[in-house]
Amino acid sequence: MEQKVLLVDQEKCTGCRQCEMVCSVYHTGASNPSRSRIKVVKWEQVGLYLPMTCNHCEEAYCVEVCPTKACHREPENGHCVVIDKNLCIGCRTCIIACPFGQPFFDHQERVTVKCDYCDGDPQCVAFCNVKAVSFVNADEAHLAKKREAAAKLADLLLKHTKG
């Protein structure tokens, strides 16, 4: 299976927090954003919003520190990192280890939870009105980033030559 990633366009995000709501409804059945696997970080004063979710890192610290192998990588599921609820003991070491502030402790289920791409159909992507979050092939995401970098470089060069 081809590896897909969640791509966040921070400039499109309006901070409506719809993604948090649908994520929580999909995973827990409750419309409770505090139990969502995606979190929108806000700088309210400047109107900046950044949806943050698991990056499914290649060298994932959460997988390294998990004492029960509950947090593991699933090669058959697009190489994403998931937590097996039936194995998790709720030690919260992964929460402290993750540099992106990601896995969350679900106080009702007493285990740690994280983004699992909703089994291949991320709800945050389906419900984002402004398409700030998209689910694309990893290669495409790289290509988009390269294009962006090239455009910036071109801008800089233009300024330099004009200056």
Binding site: V41, W43, Q45, I89, C91, V111
Partner: protein, 355 residues
């Protein structure tokens, strides 16, 4: 013709109404961009329960290390006035009890680790996968140490002549595991790489020195509890010198640990600030520095000068409390490195201080 101007503020504007002599004036103040930056908060996952566990495991292991060394060197502490008792028909020898009770403390501390888990009955899942992580290895190290330590403790109660080489090997293994337990309390925190305060090899060393100082003080206290101490006892003098040396080394390591963290990264700096001048300043200055380092040295010095054992008792209690605050302070000041995307956004929008 009226002109409507639409003004769009991209920053919060504070209006402050001032009424001076009945006149109403308005002061407009805009926040500087650096004030908008998100300040990272300390971790909230591991709290006092883990601190109690770290403390009891460290102190128990430390006292076992010192006790075992005393046992090997055949150092005679002050004899108990009740050297043996009869219990259920057995004659129990209490001479070694004050120096070998460390494993009991570790056995009391270990359940706190389980108490902190989300689903407590699943703790044995961690024991089943020892090679996965430091949490799992810790379960193994602690279990082996508790079992070996308790076996040796029970053995010391029976005045039999079982001093074969097998027991010495067993004592050696127990000593190695006691060191591992004392170091492990630091390694557990170090293994989570994203907290700069914890991710330094100085942390296990700090916890080890603290374990040795609190452990030797625990032995002094337990001897003190059995009989009035005589300051002429050379063994006790040795123990007190050792304990003071460990306290001094602990102070030096603590300084190195904090200065290293302060230099290493921005969040490390935040952690040190939180301890020294922030919300945790009482824990640091009063708990760690005064109770853990300053009072014990001064009180012991005075108690030695005036031959007053009751002051030594207070010095002991103060040092043991300080050891707990050290764990609590280090645990609560753990601030994660900033999320790279947040950092990028703050740099892009000039929300970071210029220095």
């Amino acid at each position: 013709m009226r002109v409507y101007a639409m003004i769009r503020f991209n920053r919060t504007v504070h209006y402050k109404e001032l009424s001076i002599r009945g006149e109403l004036s308005m002061e407009v103040k805009s926040l500087p961009p650096s004030a908008l930056r998100k300040i990272s908060k300390p971790q909230q996952e591991w709290k006092i329960i883990i601190a109690i566990y770290l403390y009891l495991a460290g102190m128990g292991a430390g006292s076992f290390i010192i006790g075992m060394l005393l046992h090997w060197w055949r150092v005679d502490l002050n004899p108990l006035h009740l050297s043996s008792i009869e219990f259920l028909g057995f004659q129990l020898n209490l001479i070694r009890v004050p120096i070998l009770w460390g494993p009991i403390m570790v056995a009391i501390g270990a359940p706190f680790l389980i108490l902190d888990l989300g689903i407590k009955w699943r703790f044995f899942y961690a024991c089943l996968n020892p090679r996965t992580s430091w949490v799992a290895r810790g379960f193994i190290i602690l279990s082996v140490f508790i079992v070996l330590g308790l076996v040796l403790f029970v053995k010391s109660l029976f005045p039999s002549s079982l001093d074969s080489s097998l027991w010495v090997i067993l004592e050696g293994i127990a000593l190695v595991f006691a060191f591992a337990t004392a170091l492990y309390t630091g390694i557990l925190l170090k293994a989570t790489k994203s907290v700069p305060l914890w991710n330094t090899p100085l942390l296990p060393i700090l916890f080890l020195t603290s374990a040795l100082s609190t452990g030797s003080m625990a032995i002094i206290l337990s001897v003190l509890g059995t009989r009035l101490i005589s300051f002429q006892s050379s063994a006790l003098k040795l123990l007190m010198y050792g304990e003071q040396l460990f306290v001094v080394i602990e102070g030096i390591v603590l300084y190195l640990f904090l200065s290293h963290t302060y230099r290493i990264s921005e969040q490390g700096k935040d952690s040190v600030r939180l301890l020294l001048t922030g919300n945790l300043r009482y824990i640091f200055w009063q708990g760690i520095v005064l109770l853990g380092l300053f009072f014990p040295i001064v009180l012991e010095w005075i108690s030695k000068a005036y031959q007053n054992p009751s002051l030594l008792f207070f010095a002991g209690i103060s040092l043991l409390t300080g050891g707990f605050f050290l764990r609590l302070g280090v645990l609560r000041a753990g601030i994660k490195d900033q999320i790279p995307m947040q950092r990028l956004i703050e740099i892009r929008h000039q929300m970071r201080p210029t220095n």
